[in-house]
């Protein structure tokens, strides 16, 4: 057909394109939207509908179906909160879901554990970490603190979801590492991709990328990471490309159990390079100090790195 697309069809095209996290054609969209009040009202109608769709059941209803019965509606429908889906609602429900069928797995500093899930997925838990698993929903995990490497068997109809703080990470691919410490979340992806907070910021993190975000509202950053280095802590092989020394020290502490803190002046020093943990504690910490240009001192509470 050669005639112009209808306003509605154009609005649909914009909306579909905007669901791509990388969409950047906002100025042209702005021009279109402002060109005619009918454009804005078509777009708003569609955008409200699109928001409501969050509450649709993930699994299709049987073909001959009358309007779905309540029993058939998935949890997702309920999460959507009566067509008023918002991040606040989702986060609130996340807190409520502390059911008795939750399993908590915790590791001491220096202790690592691997948890095999029924669907073949594996979660490797670094030391000093805690994770919650939900027996009723094996495709969901909550990282309370510490660090975990997820080898997820991807299933189309049930993407794996990791809750961390108030945020959600949804797998699009397979292998990713999540670190949660003191209000800071880091997601590093080695294979496939994940989507960070699909309901709000909707940021895709592909293999070879690393996302860092603070709960305090600080600006989050996506940067490169070597895919091969993600989850390297499992073999004691830690590779950094400009991570702050405080994060490096915390990861070594989790992995080896050796307590290492950083003085305020040294915490932000960017650290680049590969680091192999070792059983020789003093040598390992000396190496770290040498590589980062700091001084290591030992006291009763462990080691401190300072300038």
């Amino acid at each position: 057909m050669t005639h112009e697309p209808t306003i509605e069809a154009t609005a649909i095209d914009w909306l579909i394109r905007q669901r791509d996290p990388a969409f950047a054609d906002w100025e042209r969209f702005s021009d279109w939207l402002g060109a005619d009040p009918a454009h804005a009202s078509a777009y708003h109608e569609l955008a409200l509908l699109d928001g409501d769709l969050e509450a649709l059941p993930v699994h299709p209803a049987p073909a001959n179906d009358a309007p779905a019965e309540p029993a058939r509606l998935s949890r997702r429908w309920w999460l959507g909160g009566a067509l008023a889906a918002s991040l606040a609602v989702v986060a609130g429900i996340g807190v409520l879901r502390q059911a008795p069928d939750t399993q908590r797995i915790e590791t001491a500093l220096g202790e690592t554990r691997t948890v095999a899930l029924a669907d073949g997925s594996r979660i490797a838990l670094n030391g000093g970490s805690a994770i919650l698993l939900d027996k009723a929903d094996p495709r969901r995990a909550t990282l309370e603190r510490g660090q975990a490497l997820f080898h997820v068997v991807h299933r189309d109809e049930a993407p794996f979801r990791v809750s961390v703080g108030a945020a959600q990470i949804v797998d699009v691919g397979t292998v990713f590492d999540v670190t949660r410490t003191d209000g800071r979340t880091i997601v590093a992806v080695s294979e496939g991709a994940v989507v960070y907070n699909p309901a709000s910021s909707n940021v895709r993190v592909d293999a070879g990328r690393r996302l860092a975000v603070d709960d305090s509202g600080g600006q989050a950053v996506v940067g490169p990471v070597s895919p091969a280095s993600v989850g390297g802590w499992q073999a004691g092989q830690l590779v950094y490309d400009g991570a702050p020394l405080s994060e490096v020290a915390a990861e070594i502490e989790r992995t080896t159990g050796v307590r290492i803190s950083t003085s305020p002046g040294a915490a932000a020093i960017p650290f680049r390079g590969a680091f192999q943990t070792s059983a020789d504690e003093a040598r390992m910490v000396e190496d770290l100090a040498a590589l980062s240009g700091t001084r290591a001192t030992r006291d009763t509470g462990g080691w401190t790195l300072s300038r």
Binding site: H44, A84, P159, S200, V203
Partner: protein, 169 residues
């Protein structure tokens, strides 16, 4: 910490104001710009690879949220004026009746999606509910990218039609 975002907001103030106006902000554009400022500087945010695109998206969400709130207020006013004679207060929690209506509405939307046929419905669910990129959906379903695009367009058009029907009912 958000110094960077403040600077980008300021540098693109004119464009962003124009965008809010395109959305129908009218006289409220100035206030809405302030609200945008608060949103992006005080809330925990996603990562920002392209700050200007991020701000546009935040502004877009702000305007859509505003229309959603207006719609809810309108629906409530309408329902309440019959029952309670028009109280101004907005209940943050949906009433049982609202939940029921929402559930019926979802059932209708779900049925409209099912009526498109299995491939289009599946394509749409993967796109909208699972957040899978179109290219990947095409690969999964073994169809071309343009088939995925056209399925998505059809699905949205069918859902809009279904909603209009229930609004008229």
């Amino acid at each position: 910490m958000d110094q960077g975002m403040d600077a980008v907001l300021l540098a693109h103030r004119v464009q962003l104001m124009r965008f809010l106006e395109s959305h129908g902000a009218g006289d409220a554009a100035e206030d809405l710009f302030q609200e945008l400022w608060i949103r992006v500087t005080q809330r925990p945010t996603g990562p920002v690879g392209n700050p200007l695109a991020y701000l546009y998206r935040a502004a877009n969400n702000l305007m859509v949220d505003r229309y959603r709130a207006e719609r809810q207020a309108r629906q409530r006013d309408h329902a309440w004026s019959e029952v309670r004679g028009g109280l101004d207060e907005r209940a943050p929690i949906p009433t049982a009746e609202e939940v029921l209506i929402a559930r019926q509405e979802l059932g209708r939307l779900n049925a409209a999606l099912g009526a498109l046929g299995e491939r289009a419905a599946r394509c749409f669910r993967r796109f909208r509910l699972d957040g899978v990129p179109q290219k990947q959906i095409a690969a999964e379903l073994g169809v071309s990218l343009s088939t995925v695009e056209s399925d998505l367009r059809r699905a949205y058009a069918a859902l809009i039609a279904a909603r209009r029907q229930s609004d008229d009912a």
